[in-house]
């Protein structure tokens, strides 16, 4: 694993338009190496669109993205090599067994020692007992953790997780939080969520977006006001302009 001294994720004036609708509007932020950052916002705020642009699934309408110093728009494949991504809803090949799926994904990501990588990621995601089970027959919580194991398979320096705990039971949520906290200082994590307690529990810093614009960038411990109050104030008040 390699963490560079530069910013690991650098986003400058990123915008994305769907037809006439501006889903993401001139968002800029940076994530330091080893930092765990929460990406907060109400439904439809542009969280998933932003993460999809970071991971190369969508092209930005304008703006720049640098992943580990690499221009993610021009050198998308090289940038993607640095990332582990767990999309919202965790789409998986349902007909495969868990280890077959991870072997396939490991091969796609050119992981050198796949058998070892599968064992490691299954253990980390707490899903080793489901190794030989068919993905389509797993509960939502298990599928979620298989998605996490997949994101970890290539031991990437950067993890991007979109709503990673939806569908997990309280014990699984706790395990997930401990796992993400254990990455602190080792991996850079950007996770989106609308569960404030989760973000407060695991993140070093929080970026709040609303209607496609960044309205806050703060550390949960920085302020006396609770994150819940800040979130409510920023995401229900009038125009997001200048609220940051």
């Amino acid at each position: 694993m390699r963490l560079t001294g530069t910013k690991v994720i650098e986003v400058e004036a990123l915008s994305r338009r769907y037809g006439s609708r501006l889903a993401v509007n001139e968002i800029s932020f940076r994530v330091e190496p080893g930092e765990i950052v929460g990406f907060l916002g109400p439904n439809g705020a542009g969280k998933t669109t932003t993460l999809r642009m970071l991971t190369g699934y969508l092209a930005p309408t304008s703006g720049t993205i640098r992943i580990d110093g690499i221009d993610a728009v021009k050198n998308s494949i090289r940038a993607r090599e640095r990332l582990g991504y767990m999309p919202e809803g965790v789409p998986l090949y349902r007909e495969m067994r868990v280890y077959e799926y991870l072997r396939h994904r490991g091969a796609l990501k050119a992981v050198p020692n796949i058998a070892e990588a599968i064992d490691r990621s299954l253990d980390l995601a707490g899903v080793a007992d489901a190794r030989t089970r068919i993905v389509g027959q797993l509960s939502k919580g298990y599928r979620q953790r298989v998605g996490l194991a997949e994101a970890l398979i290539a031991d990437p320096p950067i993890l991007i997780l979109d709503e990673p705990t939806s569908g997990l039971d309280p014990n699984q949520v706790r395990h997930f939080r401990e796992l993400v906290r254990s990455f602190s200082g080792k991996k850079t994590v950007l996770l989106s969520s609308h569960i404030l307690s989760e973000v407060e529990a695991v993140c070093d810093r929080v970026i709040i977006i609303r209607e496609g614009q960044k309205v806050a960038d703060l550390a949960p411990g920085d302020t006396e006001t609770s994150l819940e109050d800040i979130f409510a104030e920023l995401t229900t008040a009038g125009s997001p302009e200048g609220a940051s």
Partner: protein, 247 residues
Amino acid sequence: MKGAWVVLKRELGAFFVSPLAYVVLTSWLIWNGVVFWVLTEFYSRNAVSSGASTPLSGFFGGSALFFIPLLVFVPVLTMRLVAGEKQSGTIETLLTAPVSEASVIFGKYGASLVMWCVLWIPTIIYAWIISQHGSVDWGATAASYFGIFCLGAYFMAIGLLMSVVAPTQIIAAVLSFVALGVLFTVGIGEFVLDGTAREVCAYLSMWGHMQSFSKGVVDTRYLVFDFSVAVLAVGLSVGALKARKIG
């Protein structure tokens, strides 16, 4: 291109663990078994002395019975290639892995060609059956299979393109059916039209294509056509998959 090989293996694995593969293969063999039986009966009752037309040349594109099932089976085989990933959402994990769109398309196209070959390989037994009771022109038979492969290369490329542009598998299947149906019908213009239009239709004709190959004549005009359509459709598939990012 290692990514293409990984995609190809996954595609074939998914196909052969799905009930669809066995429904398709079984119905395909039942259909062709009946066609072969009817043709053999016909030729045994109406002795054809010229030697240019045999049960095998009839089987390999000598009748509409060859093309009708293809208009259905090709869309069924290709509809899930990319549209299936869109419907299940797995396209997002696939396209955020460090592989190019071209690798994804080449892998999927390669898998569709293997499926096409798997459909046809069992029919070799028909040639063997004929050889047990009469003579078989193995050169013409080999040319027929070569023609079928070339035809498949262009059919599958069209099916793949439709699967890339369609949002769902059903729409992909309908679009492929219409595209192949139009190409098939245009070929019939060879027997209806005159002059340049007739020439163009003859060049596009699947029927003419297979009639030529089934007699052992490997006509390079048809090869150029098959190859051109396949390259165009696969290239457009790569382009359409890239364009999805900005859509």
